[in-house]
Symmetry: C4
Subunit: 233 residues, 4 copies
């Protein structure tokens, strides 16, 4: 039987393989999903399947209430986090989660990543937020669903826009990133890891290093994102 | 003449080659063994043979009292440590030993690796123990045999279960890991190295970083290992 | 129609691909140009084009006043910086810009890279200068053009010769390097990254590490560059 | 015309290519030589030739007084250091010099590398010595020849045996290693780099980390090198 989600599965498969090719995952410590807004479903990596053997047809189709729509394998254990974010942020098209080394190190440090330079400012105007670990009651409850709540709450509290800041660190855990599709979410995971390493080194070289000044933050962001952007084709 | 251990040697060979493919060894600084419980023997890498030329038929078969049962080469110099662990822990099927960089750095620091995040908690519920260097009398005696004793003593003293914590650091030396078979032991060596690097970076970024709180440790462990585990297929 | 800049584009293309092969760029975070002094134009990477799909014919030809002479794509967003440097420093033939990790970390630290050893001294006799971030008025103005001014001002103030010191860090941003052609500019980007990593590690191992003494600086530089140079063929 | 040094050149060529394959050199920042004791000459890499284009016939044959015996290219600029060491230490067969990152960082820090663990002790029983930078008079004189003197003096002063300690750091410069042939010299360069990285990380994790205790140093060395060695085939 022909699936109507063949293309979606392929997009999701390719984004997951890209995560691996970019050295952002070891074993199965990561997953990417891609959404089909028309049908209110998303495609996501099956849980615990190695990248070496992953095939497009293994990708699982799930709706926003975590019901499996298509697929014989169990979806990623982080599926409920993805579902919650898709439900709340109606304009995102893909989500990625990794345990990439430098991103995780900042998450384990429970510190926001300071905006130290233009590599960072070319992509977002704020420090990369680190959400505090959730309360014990939420951990013992619907944990992955509550991780979604934790992300949204963090953005509310810090008054951040999820379309300007497409990444977050979960304290003691690791990064989630998103974007207009699965490929953009993976791109943001890579950018986050690069920026996390640069910020780590900067703090080691100069513990007194200062955040980028506001005029430079604005300039670099506008080059790429403003109404008169002139970066890229 | 046909060996009855052909399959065991092949398993052991593949696990050793995997150690190399995962960048856990330089030259011959590592070895993996795999056990055959029915015949009370294990297969282990020959000593000082480069991975580039290692062949399945080079693997040596040894019993739990360190007698060579099959093989024309000398077994790994760490053989007595493997033998002792197989003898004492009757439910493990494979053991790996490496000099992987970050694992060794913690061992040389003589510090347990604190459980800083969920990457760690997805695999074990405790800090990764570092056994103190052994007494001079034991070093001068049956050194590799006594390394086995040192590991078992460390687990007793810290009241750890070897089936929950499948890895240890030997102070000033490096890691030993184990599991249900050779492949799982190698997997644990890789996990340990990844966690060791993340913990190193975490301490550098935030010297005051806190261990993961108990509720999160429990949650992540149960996701993978508890009776209602839902991680993986 | 045959371009008279075919060879120039090829040189520029190859230098850009080399930047990628040497692990100095992630995605499109970098660019190289090569000059044609006779025609007062230079070839530069188009903006936002991935290295995987870049072709020699995509390279854009621009004059020193930033007019596009040939090419259907937009030139790199850093083009004005390149143009300004070519205009002011009439003896350089190529320029490279990267966001290489250790170079950026020093730029974000707003510190010159101290000349700690002979790897550094084999290439230049001074600390690698870090230009301070420019004034807000200049940032809000013709930013990339002003980055060129910022570099030239930094060299004037520190009384450095751009033919002896073929590299600079822009505070909070990253490195620019140059040389007799595009390939040499890329070579200098790699040397800078290597030296930046060594200096980082040196400061971590020994915060009191001293700069190379003058006699050694002179000796190593003369081996390669003096009138009686005897390094290389 | 057939060279009587064809085999020697081939050995030297392969050792140099191995240096590159082991990620110990960038560009031409390194060289290996191999000696022919019967004819009192050694083969060494030509100066400034990239590994990508190096051929066995490019290798230069030099005697212990630095006369070129065979070869059309200029020998490595470090040739006089090699010559001096071969002349003084009559039992070594190969020498390697690199600017490998972690080795250079310790040399730039002007610190001996402490013997922190068994990876180190499996190869040598002492801290890896760092020779202090030479006096200005010697630098301005026959520099590379004097680097040889500097190494020998350092071993005399620290009462080290060059057959037990096959490596040294030149302060502010980088490592020289040696061994029974070119391949062993390269092996020692790799071991040094690995040990240098482990020691760096150890100091970062635990600034109070202690040197390996004497009983362990002795045990690990004897396993490999003593009269009753049992490590390797």
């Amino acid at each position: 039987m022909m699936s109507i989600y063949k293309e979606l599965k392929q997009e999701c498969y390719e984004a997951n393989m890209q995560l691996n090719a970019l050295n952002l995952v070891v074993y199965t410590f990561g997953n990417v999903s891609a959404v089909d807004r028309k049908n209110s479903v998303f495609a996501i990596k099956p849980s615990g399947v190695a990248y070496e053997v992953l095939k497009p047809q293994d990708i699982v189709i799930v709706d926003f209430d975590n019901n499996i729509i298509e697929g014989s394998m169990r979806p990623s254990s982080d599926t409920k986090t993805h579902a919650y974010l898709y439900k709340k942020w109606k304009d995102i098209g893909g989500i990625a989660h990794t345990h990439a080394t430098y991103s995780v190190a900042w998450a384990q440090s429970q510190l926001d990543i300071p905006i130290f330079g233009t590599t960072h400012a070319d992509h977002l105007t704020a420090d990369i937020p680190c959400a505090p670990p959730m309360d014990d009651a939420l951990i013992e409850g619907n944990y992955e669903h509550n991780t979604g709540i934790q992300i949204i709450d963090c953005f509310k509290e810090k008054q951040l826009s999820h379309s300007e800041v497409e990444m977050v660190l979960i304290g003691n855990h690791g990064p989630f990133t998103w974007g207009k599709d699965g490929a953009k979410a993976v791109y943001n995971s890579k950018v986050l890891e690069v920026v996390a390493k640069m910020a780590y080194l900067t703090k080691q070289i100069n513990p007194e290093a200062k955040r980028l000044k506001d005029s430079l933050i604005k300039k670099h962001y506008d080059r790429k994102h403003g109404s008169s952007a002139y970066y890229g084709q």
